[in-house]
Amino acid sequence: AAAMMMNPDLRRERAAATFQPELLTHILDGGAERTRRRKEIEALVINDPDFQHEDLNFLSRSQRYEQAIRKSSLMVMKLREYGITDPEEIFWFKSFVHRGRPEPLDLHLGMFLPTLLTQATPEQQDRFFMPAWNLEIIGTYAQTEMGHGTHLRGLETTATYDPATQEFILNSPTVTSIKWWPGGLGKTSNHAIVLAQLYTQGQCKGLHAFIVPIRQLGTHEPLPGITVGDIGPKFGYDEMDNGYLKMENFRIPRENMLMKYAQVEPDGTYVKPVSDKLTYGTMVFIRSFIVGDAARCLSRACTIAIRYSAVRHQSELKPGEPEPQILDYQTQQYKLFPLLAAAYAFHFVGAYIKDTYHRISGDISEGDLSELPELHALTAGLKAFTSWAANAGIEECRMACGGHGYSRCSGIPDIYVTFTPSCTYEGENTVMMLQTARFLVKSYTQVSSGQRVTGMVSYLNDISRQRIQPQHVAARSVTVRINDPASLVEAYKARAARLVEAAAKNLQAELNQRNSKEDAWNRTSVDLVRASEAHCHYVIVKLFTAKLSEISNAAVRAVLTDLCLLYALHGISKNTGDFLQASILTDAQITQVNQHVKELLAVIRPNAVALVDSFDFHDVHLGSVLGRYDGNVYENMFEWAKKSPLNKTEVHESFHKHLKPMQAKL
C-alpha cells in the first residue's frame, strides 16, 4: 500500500537503479550487522511516543529549549534502561532523539564527563564522577572567552592560588575575559570545568582546568560571585543555551583543580605535568567526528535536493512536451551530483581517520606516537576542507530547490545553520589550514635537506628528483588518463607537490627579505592555505579511490567508481588554473575533462535517487517536506503551512490593531 502512495516519479526512479541501495548502506554503516543495529535503535526512538512533539519550526526559542531538555533527560534515562553503552550506539540514539540537532546536555556528556575521566585524580573522580553520571551535577566545559577563541594562550581568566586558605580565587578581569559560548552554560549547568591561567607563588603557569560550581544545588540560582546567563539568539542552535560566565573573586578549594597531570601542592608549589601529547589524540578524535558530520549533513541536504528534483517539474526541454523533472536539466545535475560525490568521499575520509585514530591509539598506550603528528596535521586540514565544502554544498542544495528550499519546511535551512559553526569551532578553518601548511613546509624542508619523509606527504620526496630532470614535469602531462581514478590521484599529487613547493619557495623568498619569521609566514599565508587545500584534496581523492578496491559487489563498485571519477574530474574542472599552470594537464585535456564531467552526469542520473536512498535517512530524521521518501511534496507543504503560527486565527489581530484604524483615518 505504501508503494501505491509513492509519487510515481520517485517510484520510476527507484525501479531504474542499477544496484541495490541496501548493499551500499551496509558499506556506509560498516557492515550489514551495523545497519541492522542502527535501524533497531532508530525504531526504539521513533516509535517512542515520549519523543514526539510539534514541528520545532513553529516553536519559539524558549519552547525549543524546553523540548530539548525534556527529551535529553528522557534520553539519558532510556539509554541506561536499554543498556546502550557503545559510544557509536549512544551517538545514534542521541541523533535520532534530537534529529541531528545539538542539545543542552551535549557538553555534559561529551566534554564534562570525559574530561573528568581523563584529567581528574582518583579522589576527584570519587567526588564528582558519580554525581555527574547521575546528573545531580550537570557540567559544561568553559574555554572560549568573549575576546579569545582559537588562540588558547590568549585566554585571560585567572585562577590565583591562596595558600592561606588553600583555595583558588577565580576572576574574569576584563570584559573580553568573560567566558562566552559554552553550550549548556546559559541555563542548564550547575558546574563548569573552567580553563584559566594559573597563578601560584606570583608566577603564571599557563592554562589549567578547574571544576567550578556555578549554581546553587536545589534552587539553581547563580552562586554569589558568579554572573551567568544565555548569550541570546543565534543563527541556529536554538535548542542550546550557549552561555556567558563572569567570576568575581570566586573561591574554590585546591582540590577542584584537575590534577591528574599538573599539580599545585598545599604550599603553592607547582608540579609540572609530564609531556602531554595525549591532548593531540582528543583533538584528532573530535576532528574526525567533524569530517563525519560534514559527510552526514551534506548527505541529508543531497537527499532532500535530489528527491525534490525528481518530483519537481519545470519549463520545457522539448517543445510541446510536458514539463520535465528538473533533475533532467544539465545545470541541475551539475549543481547536485558533484555534491553527492563529495558526500560519499567525505564518508570514506571520516571513516579512514576514525580507523587510523583507533589504530594509533593502540600505539599511544604503548608509547609509539610517531604517526600522531602527521595525523594531527592532516586532520586539521581535512576538518577545514570538508567543513568548508559541506557548508557551501548545503547552501547549493538549498538554492537548487529554488523558492521552496528557502522555506523552513524544506529542512535545509536547519541543516545549514546547525552545521555552519563547525567552520569555526574546534579550530577556525583558516587557522587549521595553516597548521597543516606548517607540517607540509616542515616536510618540504626535510626533503630539501636530503631527508626522506613518509606517509601522505611522501610525494614530496619526488620533488628533488624532478628538479634534476626538468623535462619530466612536461612529460607527465600526457600520461594522465582521465578515465582512470588512479591516474587522477597522480594528477592531484602533482598539483599538491607543485603548490607546496611554490608556497615553500615564496616563504623562503620572504624570509630572505625580512627579519621576522612571523611576518614572512603571514605574507605567504594565502599561498600556504592553497597548498594545504591541494594536499587535502589529493588525500581525499586518494582515499576515495582506495575505497573502490574494497567493494566486492560489482554493481555497487561501478556506481561508486562513477562517483569517484566525478569527484576527481569536477575538482579539476573547478581548479583548472592549478593544473594548467603547472603543465599537469594541457588545454586539450582540460576540455576533455570538462566534457567527461558532463558525460558522467548523464551516467549517474539514473542512479541519483537510489544513491541518496542509500544514505538511509528516516523521514523523521530528515525533517523535510521536500525530501520525503514518498515524494508527496505539495499536499504536505499545504498541510504544514496551515499549522503556521500566523494562521492560528483567520483574521490576524494586526488587522484590528493597525490596519482598520489606518483605513478609517485616511
Binding site: N57, G232, E518, Y634, F638, K642, S644, H652
Partner: protein, 659 residues
C-alpha cells in the same frame, strides 16, 4: 568613546571620507537629504529594531504592519510625497523591515499594465490605503517558468466576467508577499481562456478579503505559508481560488484586451506583461543586495580591527585580525565588489530609465536587450553578493554566528534574492540565449546592440603584460576579461553548432551546453562590470584622493576575479603561467595597500549604528561591552525558564539517582 584600535584606523585615511560618501550618494545634497530622512525615522521609537532579534514571527509581522501604518503618518507629518525624492531613502532607513512592499508592486503593475481608466480607478484607492494590494504570480508547482502557470481565468461572455480557478494543488498560489494576512486585493496571473482557447498568462485584479471585517471572500482560501529563513516580518501567502468571478474590467488591459464579445486584442508584445518583473529585478538591487553587502563589509571590517587574535610578532600584543593576510584576502575583495556593483547599478539604472520611457511610447525595440541585461546582472550580482556576505559572516568567527552580530540576518535576507524575481540559473541561460543570438548575428554582419558589439571584435593574441605592475593597467585586465567572455561565448556557440550539425536535436544540444552557457553569461556580466568600474574611475576627478583609492579597488576587483578563475584565463594561453604569478603578486600587494584604508572605506558607506543593528559593527567599536549588555536583554535571561521547574529540577533531584 571610540575604541582606540578603531580610532587609529581613521587617522590615516588617504582620502576624504565625507567626499566619498557624497560621491556614492550622487552629490552632497543627496547625502544631506538621506541623512535627514534616516534621522527622522531613527529618532522615532516606532521604527526601532533593537528587539528584532528577540521577536517571534507573529511579533515581527505585527511590528511590520505597525511600522507601515505609522510610516503613512510620518510621511504626512514630514511632508514627504509618495514618489518624492525622499522615498528612495525611506526604505533604506527602515531597513526593509516593513509591510506593504508588495502593495507598491501592485500599484506599479497597474501603472504600467493598466489602461488610463484602470489607473484612474485603482491607483487613488491604493494610495489612500482603501485597499491593500499584493502581486500573485508564483505557484506551488511553478516558479520562474511563467508559461507553466496553471491558474485559469475563463471568460464568461454571458455575465461579462472572468471565472478564476485553482484546478489542482500544484496550481495553488504560493509565496506572494503581504498576501498571507494583510492584502485585500491582489493581482493574480492566470492563463486566459476565451471560448476554450488559451491565450497565455494575463494579470487580473482579484479581491480576496472583505473591506469590512477582513474575512476571506467567498471562494478564497488564503493564509501564511509558514516560517522561512528570513522575512519573518512578511506574510508570504498561499491562495486557492474556487470559481471566483471578477468583472471583465479587472483584467489589466493597456496592452491586451478582451472585448465584450470575447474578441482578444493585443497591442505590442506578450512579453510586456513581464516587463514589471524585468524592472523589479533591477530595482531590488540597491536596497536588497548592495546595501546588505555594504553593511556586512562594515561590520566585518570594523570588527576585524577590534578583534585581536594570536601574535604576529613574539613579545608584541596579539595582532588585529585584519593584519592577517588570510583575513584581508577574505574581506577586501568583498569590499571592492560592493563598490563595483554600486557603480554597475548606476549604469543599469540609466539604461532602464531610458528603456522605460521608450516603452511608455510603445517602442519595444530595446526589450530583448533590457531583458537580457536585467536577467544576467540580477543573477551575477545577487550570487556574488550573497556569497560575499557569507564570507563576511564566516570571517567573524564565533561572534558572527550570534544574531546580535547582524550578519546572519543580512545573509538569510540577501540569499532570497538569488531565487525571487527569477531563479539565477534560468536567468543566466536567458542572457546566454541573447548573447549567442548576438554572436551569430555578428558573424553574418547584422547589427547588434552597442553593449555587445565587442563580440564582433574577436582578436587573437596574448596578454601583453611583462611584469606585475602591468597588471595594474585597466587596459590590460579589461582586455583579458573581454577575451575570456568572447572565447567562452564563441566556443559555446561553436559547440552548439557542432552538436546540431551532428544530428542532435536543437533543444537537446542546448541542454547539453547549459553549464558552459551559464558560465559564458557570467563572464559577459563580469567583463561589463570591470569595464564600467575602470571607465568610471577614469572619469573621476583626482582631487581628495578619491580617484586613487577607487583605482586600487578597481584593480583589486579585477585581479581578484582573475586570481579566482585562473583556469579560464590560462586556458588558451591568453595569460601565461608566468603572467598568472604576476597577477597573484599584484593582487596580494594590493591587499596591503587597501588594508590601510579599509575602515575609512566602510565608514564612507555612512550607516548609522541603528541601521547596522550589530554588536560587532558599531561606529565606536565597543564590541564586547555591547555584546554583553545586549545579550543580557535576551528574553531567555529575563525570565526563569519554565524548563527548570518542569524538567531540570526533577532531573537534578531524584529521577536519575534511582538508576
Amino acid at each position: 568613546s571610540v575604541n582606540p584600535d578603531l580610532a587609529i584606523e581613521r587617522q590615516t585615511a588617504s582620502f576624504s571620507v565625507e567626499k566619498l560618501t557624497a560621491w556614492l550618494d550622487g552629490g552632497a545634497e543627496h547625502t544631506r537629504m538621506r541623512r535627514a530622512v534616516v534621522e527622522a525615522i531613527e529618532c522615532d521609537p516606532v521604527f526601532s529594531r533593537e528587539n528584532q532579534y528577540f521577536e517571534s514571527q507573529n511579533e515581527r509581522y505585527e511590528a511590520a504592519v505597525r511600522k507601515a501604518v505609522h510610516l503613512q503618518k510620518k510621511m504626512q507629518e514630514m511632508g514627504w510625497a509618495v514618489n518624492g525624492p525622499e522615498s528612495k531613502y525611506i526604505y533604506r532607513a527602515v531597513s526593509g523591515d516593513i509591510a506593504f512592499l508588495l502593495h507598491r508592486i501592485f500599484m506599479r503593475s497597474i501603472s504600467v499594465l493598466g489602461s488610463d481608466k484602470q489607473v484612474a480607478k485603482w491607483i487613488p484607492l491604493a494610495t489612500q490605503y482603501q485597499l491593500i494590494g499584493s502581486y500573485t504570480q508564483t505557484e506551488l508547482g511553478h516558479g520562474t517558468y511563467l508559461q507553466g502557470l496553471e491558474t485559469t481565468a475563463v471568460f464568461d461572455i454571458t455575465t461579462q466576467e472572468f471565472i478564476l480557478n485553482t484546478p489542482k494543488i500544484s496550481a495553488m498560489k504560493w509565496w506572494p508577499g503581504d498576501m498571507g494576512r494583510s492584502a485585500t486585493h491582489t493581482l493574480v496571473f492566470a492563463q486566459l481562456y476565451i471560448h476554450g482557447k488559451c491565450y497565455g498568462v494575463h494579470p487580473f485584479i482579484v479581491q480576496i478579503r472583505s473591506l469590512q471585517d477582513h474575512s476571506l471572500c467567498p471562494g478564497i482560501i488564503a493564509g501564511d505559508i509558514g516560517p522561512k529563513m528570513n522575512f519573518e516580518h512578511a506574510d508570504n501567502g498561499y491562495l486557492m481560488l474556487q470559481n471566483v468571478r471578477v468583472p471583465r474590467e479587472n483584467m489589466l488591459n493597456k496592452f491586451c484586451e478582451v472585448q465584450p464579445d470575447g474578441t482578444y486584442v493585443r497591442q505590442g508584445s506578450q512579453q510586456i506583461n513581464y516587463f514589471t518583473m524585468t524592472t523589479v529585478r533591477i530595482s531590488i538591487i540597491p536596497d536588497e543586495v548592495i546595501i546588505p553587502l555594504m553593511k556586512a563589509c562594515t561590520i566585518a571590517i570594523r570588527y576585524s580591527v577590534v578583534r585581536r587574535q594570536s601574535k604576529l610578532k613574539p613579545g608584541e600584543q596579539e595582532a588585529k585580525i585584519l593584519d592577517y593576510q588570510t583575513q584581508q584576502e577574505k574581506l577586501l575583495p568583498q569590499l571592492a565588489a560592493a563598490y563595483a556593483f554600486h557603480l554597475i547599478y548606476n549604469y543599469l539604472e540609466e539604461l532602464f530609465d531610458k528603456g522605460y520611457r521608450e516603452i511608455q511610447i510603445k517602442n519595444f525595440n530595446a526589450l530583448p536587450e533590457l531583458h537580457a541585461f536585467s536577467s544576467g546582472f540580477k543573477a551575477m550580482i545577487t550570487q556574488y553578493c550573497t556569497s560575499a556576505v557569507e564570507i563576511c559572516l564566516r570571517a567573524c568567527g564565533g561572534h558572527g554566528y550570534s544574531l546580535l552580530s547582524g550578519l546572519p540576518s543580512l545573509y538569510t535576507r540577501i540569499l532570497a534574492s538569488c531565487i525571487y524575481e527569477g531563479e539565477n540559473t534560468v536567468l543566466l541561460l536567458q542572457t546566454a540565449r541573447f548573447l549567442i543570438k548576438c554572436f551569430m548575428a555578428t558573424i553574418t554582419g547584422q547589427p547588434v546592440p552597442s553593449s555587445v558589439t565587442y563580440l564582433a571584435a574577436v582578436k587573437a593574441g596574448k596578454c601583453p603584460a611583462k611584469n606585475k605592475l602591468d597588471f595594474l593597467s585597466p587596459d590590460v585586465y579589461t582586455e583579458a576579461y573581454q577575451h575570456v567572455a568572447v572565447r567562452l561565448i564563441s566556443s559555446t556557440a561553436a559547440k552548439l553548432q557542432d552538436l546540431i550539425q551532428s544530428g542532435v536535436k536543437k533543444h537537446n544540444a542546448w541542454n547539453q551546453c547549459t553549464v558552459q552557457l551559464a558560465q559564458a553569461a557570467k563572464a559577459h556580466c563580469h567583463y561589463i562590470t570591470v569595464k564600467n568600474f575602470a571607465e568610471t574611475v577614469e572619469k573621476l576627478e583626482t582631487k581628495a584622493g578619491i580617484q586613487k583609492i577607487m583605482k586600487h579597488l578597481c584593480d583589486l576587483f579585477a585581479l581578484h576575479g582573475i586570481f579566482s578563475n585562473a583556469g579560464v584565463f590560462l586556458h588558451d594561453g591568453y595569460i601565461s603561467g608566468a603572467q598568472m604569478d604576476m597577477v597573484t603578486a599584484s593582487y596580494l600587494d594590493l591587499l596591503d595597500v587597501i588594508r590601510k584604508d579599509a575602515v575609512p572605506l566602510v565608514d564612507a558607506f555612512d550607516f548609522t549604528d541603528k541601521s547596522l543593528n550589530s554588536a560587532l559593527g558599531s561606529y565606536d567599536g565597543q564590541v564586547y561591552q555591547r555584546l554583553y549588555e545586549w545579550a543580557q536583554k535576551s528574553p531567555t535571561n529575563k525570565q526563569m525558564s519554565p524548563a527548570y521547574e518542569k524538567y531540570l529540577k526533577p532531573l537534578l533531584h531524584n529521577t536519575l539517582s534511582k538508576l
